[in-house]
Symmetry: C2
Subunit: 466 residues, 2 copies
């Protein structure tokens, strides 16, 4: 029996325990957006560091930050001639929302059939844990074929501000040849997929202010300027018509897709009807001849997500101020700063007497495109094929992972987005769940991936240069 088949056998024997441990991990209430969960974050980080130490990793430590801590660990010694794999994941989760919408307690793992229900079960504790268990399977049997570094973020759901800020400083301690991240999806349990593109993201708040305080709509309706009214005009103007964004210059940098890539996408990606089913609504018409898969991945989007008027204003009041929040998704070669400037220019028109408009720009994330053909991508595709018995496809995602662009900027090494999530996992919503058969195949995919990476060492760019 080879080291790899021993590791696979071990992982199969220990499945029940692995699930019990994952239930421990999802029980920590690690909502990074909520300051009240700070101690839950600390306890979860400590649990992870202890766990990594227990399975045999070295230097397992908690890096404090100005926000939530980062968990770091590295394998003992160095496997000569083997590449070093950086495993990135995040242990923070989205807010659980209204408890009444959950059929099981959000911070208590509950198994029903093949599914583990809990906040974070899929995004991202379960996916992250698949790699930890792959490491353990090797360490408990014949030893690892690669060097491994773990970097577990506590702020992915809020844009990874601390880790992105400290990344260039800690880069020398990481020294990796390949990065793997499992925080994406496959279309179904039998259709494994690697993600090779992410849209960028930009979050904006537009605020309109008017009267010094909210005033009575009866006494002053007709004479007082209404910030909320003007705000709706701003939003309506930005969002445009016919499904297109109404911001001048917004599409200028969008690349024209090659016929070859469109054909590849049409052959591998979700169909329009699959997307309509997934989003629970038919799509608005759009003038251009794009498929919905293309509209959500190679075209940018602008979504108004919230509008809020002065919460102190009564039901019959002209509110003193109102804000709208925008979620903008960007594609190559759009740049967050340039798009923010387009919005700022649009808002520079005089809003009308008695009103002021201001813009707040969040930290943007650049779009990312990864190779589908480099040594790491081939090693990953082959690992999926072995573990799932099916050839994986490479998909574009409409989503964004802030840290990926930062990795691209900091390390010139291959990045593999090896997702084990499923469309029905309900991430960010109530009743989030993780499909356990996919969890087990995910562990095996990670085991084969490490073996394949070792064999492909010479074809990896950083290794080739050593």
């Amino acid at each position: 029996m080879t080291a790899t088949t021993s590791a696979i056998a071990y992982a199969r024997r220990e499945r029940r325990r692995f699930v019990d441990e994952l239930k421990e991990l999802v029980a920590f209430p690690t909502v990074s957006a909520d300051p009240r969960h700070a101690s839950g974050m600390q306890r979860c980080a400590a649990w992870l560091a202890d766990h990594l130490r227990a399975i045999g990793l070295d230097e397992a430590s908690i890096w404090p930050t100005a926000g939530h801590p980062v968990v770091f660990a590295r394998t003992k010694g160095v496997v000569d001639g083997a590449p070093t794999l950086l495993i990135y994941g995040h242990y923070d989760v989205q807010p659980e929302g209204a408890r009444a919408d959950w059929k099981t307690p959000p911070f208590q793992g509950t198994i029903r059939g093949d599914e583990l229900f809990a906040r974070g079960a899929s995004d991202d504790k379960g996916q992250l844990f698949a790699h930890i268990k792959a490491l353990e399977a090797y360490l408990a049997t014949g030893g690892l074929p690669v060097n491994a570094v773990c970097l577990f973020d506590g702020e992915e759901e809020i844009g990874s501000p601390q880790l992105i800020r400290m990344l260039s400083r800690v880069a020398p301690r990481i020294r990796a040849d390949v990065i793997v991240i499992s925080d994406t999806r496959m279309p179904s349990p039998d259709r494994p997929a690697l993600t090779y593109a992410l849209r960028g993201a930009l979050h904006l708040e537009v605020r309109v202010s008017g009267p010094t305080r909210s005033v009575h709509a009866g006494y002053f309706g007709g004479s007082a300027p209404n910030p909320l009214d003007h705000l709706t005009k701003v939003v309506a103007g930005l969002s445009g018509r016919n499904g297109a964004v109404g911001l001048e210059g917004f599409y200028d940098r969008v690349r024209t897709l090659s016929g070859e890539e469109r054909r590849y996408m049409a052959a591998t990606g979700p169909t329009d009807s699959e997307i309509v089913r997934a989003q629970g609504a038919v799509a608005p018409a759009m003038d251009r001849g794009y498929s919905l898969y293309e509209r959500t991945t190679v075209l940018p989007s602008l979504t108004v997500t919230r509008v809020l008027a002065d919460p102190n204003a009564g039901r019959a009041a002209i509110p003193a101020h109102a804000s709208a929040w925008f979620d903008i998704r960007l594609v190559p070669d759009q740049r967050p700063g340039e798009v923010a400037e387009l919005v700022r220019n649009r808002l520079s028109y005089a809003p009308g007497k008695g009103l002021r408009v201001s813009l707040r720009v969040g930290a943007g994330t650049r779009p990312v495109e990864l190779s589908r053909t480099d040594g790491a991508a081939r090693a990953a595709a082959s690992a999926y094929r072995t573990a799932f018995g099916v050839e994986p496809v490479f998909l574009r995602s409409g989503g964004s992972i802030g840290i990926v662009a930062a990795f691209v900027d900091t390390f010139s090494i291959p990045i593999v987005l090896m997702g084990f999530g499923l469309p029905g996992d309900g991430i960010h919503g109530p009743n989030e769940k993780f499909h356990l058969p996919t969890f087990f195949r995910g562990i095996e995919t990670s085991i084969w991936f490490m073996r394949n990476l070792r064999q492909a060492a010479r074809s990896l760019p950083a290794m080739a240069g050593r």
Copy 2:
């Protein structure tokens, strides 16, 4: 000494006690919009009925309703040949809002200088109490010159739904010749005013629904319809441009003002700069040549007061649904039902694929115009002149009082809106207050008004027909 001068002397002697009693009245937390205050409403109604009985009224009773109770009372016996005055007021109050914004506890009367601070001090407990104390002053001295009926509403701040529904049924028990309501304002303590017109009101909710649940703006931005986006277009379209409402036909029924009335309004009403100061913002430009006083009283208005997207949607989500609330103010001869139909017709355009639009129409209030010259109006003006030493003006208000239109429909008798509120009272906001010197003058105005009504009995329409 006549009965009236005895009553005046009594009212002046007892001022301190009157204020102490008013402090008891404002201490009841009578927020009609909040079901948790139901017992406070009951206790306040009981306190009022006991108080009316104690000062000598008969039949003091609490009328239960499907909502909050109505307090009713009538003077004992009948003063032959004298008119019957219906005193309407309301003992419910607006929600107190954030306690942190209050400098004194909202449900504890606090005197600072000439002001009594408390929620409801001005709107409407203090103003209502002025009439109660006028009744007491007569009853404790030479007896009343008129018959009096008290009708104190517990739901004015939520549109008086129960009282309006029951009004025609209870009308025979009321049998009044004149109605007086003190729930309006004077421009300043030395500028007494009667209100002779109220705008009507119509509240609408427009709701746009899209995806069956909120979906991720990254995965589905570009393919999923956005209800909030469409809603902003609906709002922007309704509100129009240049300060005018953009709803076709909205101005069709608005009366053209006579030159005489415009001159009267210009001579008596607030100036543009007074309105700008009161609303805390300069007014948006408007194409037509109206003063701000005219724009807020003889022109209708449409105000979007709130926009809310699915509260379960995350910060990076396309919300499943979104609603906007509108406060529309109407002028003669606009009708709430017709205006709601104009909005409904506008919304009947297809909203785009994947979206549905619905409209919820609240109970509307018709606009009201009252006489400035009938016997009751003259009796009231004369009472102000005596109590304040200044000739009062007749003003239009941009606000609405739902019960007034119902009184117009049910009783064909004069209605006098005899306000003792001041622009700085801060009604509906934090730190509401009532100006005590105006409270005392209000009591004396009510005393003189009853005397004048008695003397003008023959000129009152209902009396003339007896």
